[in-house]
């Protein structure tokens, strides 16, 4: 026989004694796991939606609505390009990238297209290098619901993202337009009377960008003869900052413009996420309080009913350490089982009910299993600590007393 056998046999002998503790832990963990699991996918869904929208904050000329922008960014109204410089030097926390755009109608091989002028990322970096480190790098507070998971890069969508390098004589072709016109990298194309070299064909993104041609902002400004203006500035901001006043700061900084946040589109989901976040804290407190009390209680009862056994073991030569280990191991087992059951139950609830309620596909998160089991074991062991010490301090002579 070994120590584990001793612990297991006792548990099997009196399974009811640990049922309440196990149940409380299981339910508490299940609630936590379910919430965290759904929240994870919900946050990801928000992030993905925002990413699909590209920027999450837009600076538009006064009088242009979000609807105008979405129906076509060819609304014709402009604002000075120097706003972009102003933003770049502003050192505003939470701004991850800036993308000014100017869209003008043009023709390519007798085909009506939209020529979009963009600024390559390298120009910002060059300017911002001596000025600030905040811009374009997510700051410390921005870890949750980052609006741009991963680094992104030029390969997704040039207007939504940023293009690292783009020279004044170059053009980028959307996937659809490249296919329709048959142009390849290195081809020369004539746009608004000037010949540009196709430096890249962009991979298909499934958005309007596939049907567009991109060129350097300053080239487009020169060819369209509109002066140093842009139609809009797309800003990728850290979601939390966007939610917490970045928009207002931008509006204050750029009078005469309209600053709108695209996250309004996903506002309900963001607030649901926040609710879930708070709920999970609440459940954590409940789990620790209730499960801890329940485990402590059942351990105290267990110590009481096993006084004679403890006395006997001590008479035979068990050390106090051995005795307290008997009870702590039991708590570890209860915590482990509770965490495991809770994880299974919570994940099941998240995958079935959770995904139904939120309309987001949810799959179990294995990392939560480790957290659930570890956390539950910790709570349960901590709760059993004091009763176990009491057991160790019992007098062995009580096994001589009848009863």
């Amino acid at each position: 026989m070994n120590f584990t056998t001793l612990v297991w046999k006792e548990i099997r002998e009196r399974p009811m004694a640990m049922i309440t503790g196990l149940l409380t832990i299981t339910l508490g963990v299940a609630a936590l796991v379910a919430i965290r699991n759904v929240a994870f996918y919900s946050e990801r869904a928000v992030a993905r939606e925002l990413e699909a929208l590209g920027a999450n904050v837009l600076v538009l000329p006064q009088g242009v609505t979000l609807q105008d922008y979405y129906s076509a960014d060819l609304h014709g109204q402009t604002m000075p390009e120097e706003l972009v410089q102003q933003l770049a030097f502003s050192n505003l926390e939470g701004v991850e990238s800036l993308a000014p755009k100017l869209c003008v109608p043009a023709r390519l091989d007798e085909r009506g297209i939209i020529l979009t002028g963009i600024l390559p990322q390298s120009e910002f970096q060059a300017k911002a290098a001596w000025q600030s480190a905040n811009l374009f790098s997510p700051h410390k507070g921005c870890k949750k619901a980052r609006c741009s998971p991963g680094d992104g890069g030029a390969e997704s969508s040039p207007t939504q993202r940023t293009v690292q390098e783009l020279y004044q004589h170059e053009a980028l072709l959307g996937a659809d337009i490249a296919e329709a016109t048959g142009h390849k990298v290195g081809d020369k194309v004539k746009l608004l009377g000037e010949t540009l070299v196709v430096s890249a064909v962009l991979p298909s993104t499934g958005t309007v960008d596939d049907g567009r041609v991109f060129a350097h902002l300053h080239t487009v400004q020169r060819l369209a003869k509109v002066g140093e203006v842009v139609n809009c500035i797309e800003i990728m901001g850290c979601c939390e900052d966007v939610a917490e006043g970045l928009v207002q700061q931008l509006a204050d900084m750029l009078p005469g413009t309209k600053v709108v946040t695209i996250s309004q589109v996903v506002q309900t989901q963001v607030s649901v996420n926040r609710l879930m976040e708070r709920l999970s804290w609440l459940f954590l407190v409940i789990l620790i309080g209730m499960a801890g009390a329940s485990i402590a209680n059942s351990t105290i009862a267990n110590v009481r009913e096993r006084r004679r056994e403890i006395g006997t073991l001590m008479a035979i030569g068990a050390t106090p350490h051995f005795v307290s280990l008997l009870f702590l191991s039991k708590a570890v087992i209860v915590g482990c089982l509770g965490g495991l059951f809770g994880y299974v139950l919570g994940s099941t609830v998240a995958v079935t009910i959770g995904s139904q309620w939120t309309g987001i596909p949810v799959t179990p998160l294995p990392i939560l299993a480790a957290v659930a089991v570890g956390g539950a074991m910790l709570v349960s062991t901590a709760a059993a600590w004091w009763p176990a010490r009491c057991a160790a301090a019992l007098d062995p002579c009580m096994c001589f007393q009848d009863g």
Partner: protein, 238 residues
């Protein structure tokens, strides 16, 4: 080998001090078979637990093999019990959720013996007490006599040098009582020490030394006095 040096034990009961053991000095030599008799409440169990290192005295010292038991740390005292002492209880005190075999293995587990050794030794001891066919029975599936035999096997499995027994035959039928007592005699013949608290004249008569306890005061009883038919008609304790 065991010495009580001016040892006394008082209990406090609602402002009143109860003397369970008056200051006592006593030496028990290695190889003695001592019976302790006395009326109920006279302090016999108290003395036994003091000797066994399980109850700290109010005054005095308890020496075991030149070690002052209660000057040792709790864990060290547990080690002395584990390696040198064996206990037999009136109520057997088997662990209820373990089989007979496992109950006998517990002291070996506490000593850190490997599983195979535990199993072999426990089997050996169970067959010594005639219970090899009951190895997988739980205590509740055993008769009282069988339970005490399992308890005896558990005590002997460690090969202790001293056995402390508190009314070991109090709950037993005559057959098992004899069985247990002959084990004690055999243990004694092997040169080991036994301190046995008992109410029964028959059990006490097997001992080589008789101590009588009355109101916490202990005194030696010469053997002829103990066995005189008129002084103690049926029971030594009355």
């Amino acid at each position: 080998m065991i010495r009580l040096e001016a040892v006394a034990k008082h209990y406090r009961q609602e402002e009143r001090l109860v003397t369970a053991l008056a200051p006592t000095t006593l030496t028990i030599e290695s190889g003695e078979f001592v019976a302790v008799v006395g009326p109920s409440g006279s302090g016999k169990s108290t003395m036994l637990t003091l000797l066994g290192g399980m109850l700290a005295p109010t005054e005095g010292r308890v020496w075991f093999d030149d070690e002052s038991l209660y000057d040792l740390k709790v864990a060290e005292r547990a080690k002395v019990r584990r390696l040198k002492m064996g206990f037999v209880f009136q109520t057997f005190n088997l662990v209820p959720y373990l089989t007979a075999q496992e109950n006998v293995e517990v002291p070996l587990l506490l000593r850190g013996e490997p599983k195979a050794v535990q199993r072999a030794r426990a089997r050996e001891l169970l067959s010594l007490v005639g219970l090899e066919d009951r190895a997988s029975h739980k205590p509740t599936q055993l008769s009282t006599g069988q339970q005490q035999r399992v308890a005896l096997a558990r005590t002997l499995v460690n090969d202790p040098r001293v056995i402390f027994a508190d009314e070991p035959t109090g709950n037993l039928d005559p057959d098992t009582r004899n069985h247990v007592l002959s084990f004690f005699e055999e243990f004694h013949r092997a040169g080991k020490t036994i301190v046995m608290v008992t109410h029964e004249i028959q059990a006490a008569s097997r001992a080589t030394r008789l101590l009588r306890m009355a109101d916490g005061v202990l005194r030696d009883v010469p053997h002829d006095e103990a066995s005189a038919p008129h002084s103690e008609p049926r029971r030594l304790a009355s």
